[in-house]
Symmetry: C2
Subunit: 343 residues, 2 copies
Amino acid sequence: MLVMKKVFLKDIAKKLDVSKTAVSLVLNNKGDENKISQETQKKIIDYAKKHNYVPNQLARGLSRGKSETIGLIIPNISDTFYSKIAGYVELKAKNLGYTVLFSSSNEDPKKEAELIRSMLNRQVEGLIIASTQQNLKEIESLKEDKFPFVLIDRHYTDSETNYVIVDNFNGSKTVTEHLLKLGRRKIGLITLKPGLEAIKQRLLGYHSALNDYNIEFNKNLVLELSTENYEDEIKMAIGELLKFPNSVDSIVFSTHYLTSVGLRELKRLNVKVPQEVAIVSFDELSAFDLVDPPITSVIQPVKDMSNIAVEILINEIEGMKENIENTRILDSKLEIRKSCGTF
Amino acid sequence: MLVMKKVFLKDIAKKLDVSKTAVSLVLNNKGDENKISQETQKKIIDYAKKHNYVPNQLARGLSRGKSETIGLIIPNISDTFYSKIAGYVELKAKNLGYTVLFSSSNEDPKKEAELIRSMLNRQVEGLIIASTQQNLKEIESLKEDKFPFVLIDRHYTDSETNYVIVDNFNGSKTVTEHLLKLGRRKIGLITLKPGLEAIKQRLLGYHSALNDYNIEFNKNLVLELSTENYEDEIKMAIGELLKFPNSVDSIVFSTHYLTSVGLRELKRLNVKVPQEVAIVSFDELSAFDLVDPPITSVIQPVKDMSNIAVEILINEIEGMKENIENTRILDSKLEIRKSCGTF
DNA sequence: TAGTTAAACTAAATCGGTTTAGTTATGTGG
DNA sequence: CCACATAACTAAACCGATTTAGTTTAACTA
């Protein structure tokens, strides 16, 4: 029934003895403006409903050059941070009448470039991209072509585009300051190899906080792991930080997964958190309040970020009807728990 | 460049002074079998590469009635369990040459039915569905039409279809038995309102374990929450279980999110876990080993489930080349941690 | 009463591919 | 030298919609 007895536009036209044009116009709510009589409209609509007509989106998209679809390219749909974005983007887009096509780049710039092409070929009307930040060319091409897109979570500093990101600098600065206020002075940072602007900003925020407290920067306390292999590298990193007694009294982790593996390793080494080493996390997992100890985290405004990205994008697709700010840097929120110790 | 200077099939044909047919055949690797000369093939391929030709998928899909796309319908992409499935499905499908179209039903049968239609209209070649289990009609329609699909995580007991699910009964039984072996006798179950077969099986597994230990079933110890409102209802539920001193000595939670909110509530009430109340979880979050106490969980074979679903589906799409079992019930794994107490 | 206008409709082109059913030119066997 | 293959190619139909540029008929106006 769903597939085989499919009704097509021409079937309706034939049965009702009207033209395909009439059927198409009526079913697209253009009956009135094209002066199709109420009578005819009614019989078309009734027949279509009765026979469960739904237009073939491929044909529709092809002939209109539109698809009512937007694409979302993220590094990894399995990562809870991005899956939340995906969920909110899907919801918001659906509310505004659009379908979302997702795809994961797995942090691979080539794959990302392919995905952009592939989505364009599927006639998406706009893109939301959490980019690898290594496809400046493609981004510039999109801009040149005036193709609607919004960068989310990660943007290109060298290119003026729409974007919605988090204030990574201040988020990181605030959480580092919090450790400083609690009297910690030997603060380690476990982060990713630079490349992503967000990661750079988190490093700078950390620097800035130390600087404000007149603490000399010690590069041995900053460990940069690779995205692909952080699970193995974390042991080295933590080992490095704990090489000498009292070499660190606290650690800032710059992503939720670094926090997880880091804490796991600290536990394995029987390091007391927060007594011996306090820890804080940039970004969080939903169970971080249940963890032993509950983890002080910088919480990112995932929902806002997603909603705003969709709003900016669809506003652009639909011809800038509203006057929406097209670059947004959102505040994060510091959630203080026990892993950083207490006053 | 990406969008505006697009090259079409006819452009290539015109420039090289050959027919659209030739170009199409060659670019679809059908040059040899259609006796297009090597020379012509080379010039077409070279030109296409040089000008970055990529076929319009809508047109391609429309004319071939195919799309090299499969659909994945899940309850909620934000849920880590389903986002992991999405990730693995995407990866596996991509390896086999297919793109995945995701969409969330939000547990709404109507929305699910719409999504099925909408995906069919987009000419997906097959579907993987983690269903609300309230669309038997649609499922039967798909079957009638011999449309390829595989149910994942949740299947219809009244309908013979392809499916890949977890052995919920034995998973639940095993984890309940584990509590029994540890001497717990007043075991509560916090679960969802029945409706999903998986949830029923988890209840039955719990029953069966109690039965094997000759423990009379006490229906006051089984609390069924609604999917929409479990966060509020959990307080009532835990309150109910703890109404009288020693009314329960342990709780089985039947989903990861029930475990999270349940533990949160137990902590709020200062209940000592596992001393006063041991807890175990069916399904887990990635941080459950870091939680206080680390949570004993039934781990579901998400990766296998996803891979097998894709294999079954694509095998069917491509005409059953291989002989693959089309119904699979996978074992889960009990991960013993501290939340259930120790021997 | 010829000329306009508006209402109600439709034929056919189009989107960008795939595919069927040819055509043309050359070579080969009897 | 004719009949027939074969190699190399192509014209045109088709997929299922949308949309442009009409057409027909009746009513209205000057």
